[in-house]
Structures are given as C-alpha cells and as structure tokens.
Amino acid sequence: MPRLQPLYEKYRDRGFRVVAVEATHNTDAAKKFIAEKGLTYSFLEDNDNANVVHGLFGVHSFPTAYVIDRDGKIMYYHLGFEPGDEKTISEEIETLL
C-alpha cells in the first residue's frame, strides 16, 4: 500500500484517485498503518452488511486491485504487488488518463 502513495502523488493533479478498501475490519491496525506510512489517498472499511470485498467483488487473494477508467469500466486488474509493478501500473494509468 505505501508503494501506491508516490503513484497517487504523481498523477492526482491529472485526476487519478486511489480508493483502498480494508477487508478485515481491523480498524486499529489499519489506522496505525495508514498514519505511520503517511498515506493520503482514500481509505474505506468494509463491513458484514455491505460485504463489498468478499460478496460483491468475490475477492479472496490480497492485494487485489482494479484500474477503472473515466466511464467506470474496469480496464486492468492486479493480483499481488511485486517490485517493479509500479512501472506497469504507471503505463496503464497513462493509457487511461
């Protein structure tokens, strides 16, 4: 998650957003992590009623991410975050901005 911060800062003025949904309701650990790492993009927390992560999106592997274009269409998807993935994600953002 901290590796998304530079991407967010690089592209936010051109309309790039990062929305991170925490899946396990681990509120204290999540807040501590966000504060310690100085992450400034949007964070939301899933809950049993909404059941967004497991129910709506059927996500079972973490981290999973979708890159959504200006029409709300999912154009790319990522499983895991390995060293070097920043470059791939940058290229995808550039094609969509």
Partner: protein, 338 residues
C-alpha cells in the same frame, strides 16, 4: 500462479509450520526474537541490500528456523532478482538448506528456492523434498498443489500427474474440513471450495496428460473439468483450467478456440503467460503479430465490465459512494493490514 507479497509470504509460511518443529537448530525464544527484529527491520529497510541482508543474517543464525522459508524469499527476491545476483542468493539459501534436517522446513525452503535453482542451472531435487516430507506425513492439498505447479513449470509431467491424482483424492468435504479445523465455512462454502480443489487438480492432470502425449484423454478431461469452473468478477477463470486448455488448443493450431479460452485471462493484465499465449494465437490466425495491440485494446473495451457502485465508511465514520470518489482514473485496491 498465486502471487504473494514477500512479507505476506513470510507470515503465511510461519503460520503453516508447527511451532517447535525445529528445536535443534533454533531455541524457540531467540528465534522468535530474531524474527521479530527482522520483521521490524524489514519495514524500515529502504534498499534491496538492506532487505537481502535481513534474510541472510536470519538464515546464517537459524537455517532451520520457523521463518526460514520467508527469510529465504527475501534473499531470493532482493539479492537474486533486484540486485541481479542469482548465484550468490542461491548459494546463501542452498547453504542454509543443506544444514536443515527437519523435513517440514526443508520442504518449505526448498519450494521457495526451486525457481531460482532452475535459473542458475542447479535444479533442486523436487522428488527428494516431497519424499522427505512424505516420510513424516502425507502432503496437504495446498502442498500437492504447490508441487503440481512447480512440476508443470519445469515440465516434470509424470510428477505433476501423480500429484494431481493425489490432490483429486483430497477434493472432498471431509479432507477440506480436516485441513481447516477452525474454519467457520458452511456447507455451501465448503462445496465451492471442494469444487475448486477438483477443478485445480483436473486442470493439472489434463495438462500433464496432454504433455505426456495423451491428447484425446486430456481434451475430454478439460471439457469435464470446465463444467465446475468458476469465474471472478471480471470473468477470469479462478483456476488455471482455461489457460492450460487454451495452451493445448494453441499447440494443436486451433487459433480461434485458443483465443476464446485465453482472452479473459490475458486481457486485463494479471496474467503474462496467458497474454504471451494470446499473442501466439493472434499471430497464428493472422500470419503475423501486426495489429495485436489494437486488437487487445478493442477486446479489452468490449469485455470490460462497469464497476458496481457501493457505499462504505471512511475512518472518520463518513459514508462515501465509490462513484463520488472516482476521478478520471481510479485505482480500487482491496487490502488488509499484516
């Protein structure tokens, strides 16, 4: 392939090894202390050198420690891949592996080292790792799956087929429950998990059979397995079934059928192998790769799904709709703190 973050891998590996299984090499308390310190250092480390050294130091002191596999993964990733010193990384981890007697730890570390061992042309004996562990207990489904993956990747087809048969025998509710004694999963969830297990095993079995020359049997097995296949939010098959099937069609020159099977996996960026295969199918169909990128973009737009809107609270308790946070491009990430 199931990608994992490195530290997530270290934590997951730690959880799979029973505590106290490596008492000879590592007194429990100091090993635990060393791991805690290594984990804290990892979060602070900024360079690949620093991260590789954390793994090296741990393995130097606790080659058979509970977290040896996770630490081996640090050395392999940061020294072997980031710093491009695969021979040195191999020597470090293999040196640690030679000192380990516990078959549990040997298996975990050996499986981590296996891909690198092929890169540096000193393949580890996969059969020996498996037999060592089987001398103590049968492999779990997930371990059989890891061996199937490794065997298929390195074209050890007979081994892949044998493990697929064992994994298929583990695709039952009873075995699933035995592997997850604390799971609160209900009958429906267990039924899905079992079906996923059998699809995985059949996919590997069919792919191994195909590569062993039993093409007709393999193609009919792919069809059978596909009846239980499940697909993710983007329509990508949840198991490697469609990819193997697509590769089998590709090998037989059935370009259109191969493309159809491979497109969902290849289009959205999460599967480089499927993308390379789709490129071959395209070249087969059109005589060259010219126009592949344009075709890819067009297919992606055609198959792309509009994201469902949802509403969730932020950490101040304010509810937000995804649509209200969207920009021109949105990176929607699902995570949890480790």
């Amino acid at each position: 392939m199931r990608k994992r973050g490195l530290l997530v891998a270290a934590v997951a590996v730690a959880a799979t090894i029973a505590p106290g299984c490596s008492k000879l090499q590592a007194p429990a308390q100091s090993e635990a202390g060393a791991y805690k310190a290594a984990k804290a250092a990892y979060y602070k480390a900024e360079t690949s050198q620093q991260k590789a050294k954390i793994g090296e130091d741990y393995l130097g002191k606790y080659p058979g420690g509970q977290h040896a596999a996770g630490m081996a993964s640090l050395v392999i990733e940061y020294e072997g891949h980031q710093l491009k010193e695969p021979d040195r990384a191999f020597a470090t981890v293999d040196g640690a592996l030679q000192k380990v007697t516990d078959p549990e730890v040997r298996f975990e570390v050996g499986m981590e080292l296996l891909p690198l061992s092929y890169e540096v042309n000193k393949p580890i004996d996969l059969d020996q790792l498996v037999q060592g562990l089987e001398g103590k207990r049968p492999l779990t489904f997930n371990e059989n799956l890891d061996v199937m993956e490794a065997a298929a990747k390195h074209e050890r087809w007979q081994l892949a087929e044998a493990r697929a048969d064992l994994a298929l025998g583990q695709a039952t509710p009873e075995t699933y429950r035995a592997d997850h004694p604390n799971s609160k999963a209900g009958d429906a969830a267990i039924k899905r998990a079992v079906s996923r297990r059998s699809t995985y095993a059949l996919a590997y079995k069919a792919w191994a059979l195909f590569n062993l020359g039993h093409q007709d049997e393999a193609m009919s097995l792919f069809k059978t397995a596909d009846k239980d296949a499940t697909f993710n939010y983007l329509g990508v098959c949840n198991t490697p079934l469609r990819q193997f099937w697509g590769e089998a069609e590709l090998a037989q020159g059935n370009w259109a059928r191969a493309s159809e099977l491979l497109e969902p996996s290849a289009l959205f960026g999460a599967n480089d192998t499927a993308l390379a295969d789709l490129r071959k199918a395209y070249a087969g169909r059109h005589g060259s790769e010219a126009g592949f990128d344009a075709y890819l973009w067009k297919e992606r737009e055609r198959r792309a799904r509009k994201v469902d809107d949802f509403k969730l609270p932020d950490y101040k308790g304010t509810n937000h709709k995804l649509s209200s946070l969207e920009g021109k491009v949105t990176y929607l990430a699902f995570w949890f703190p480790t």
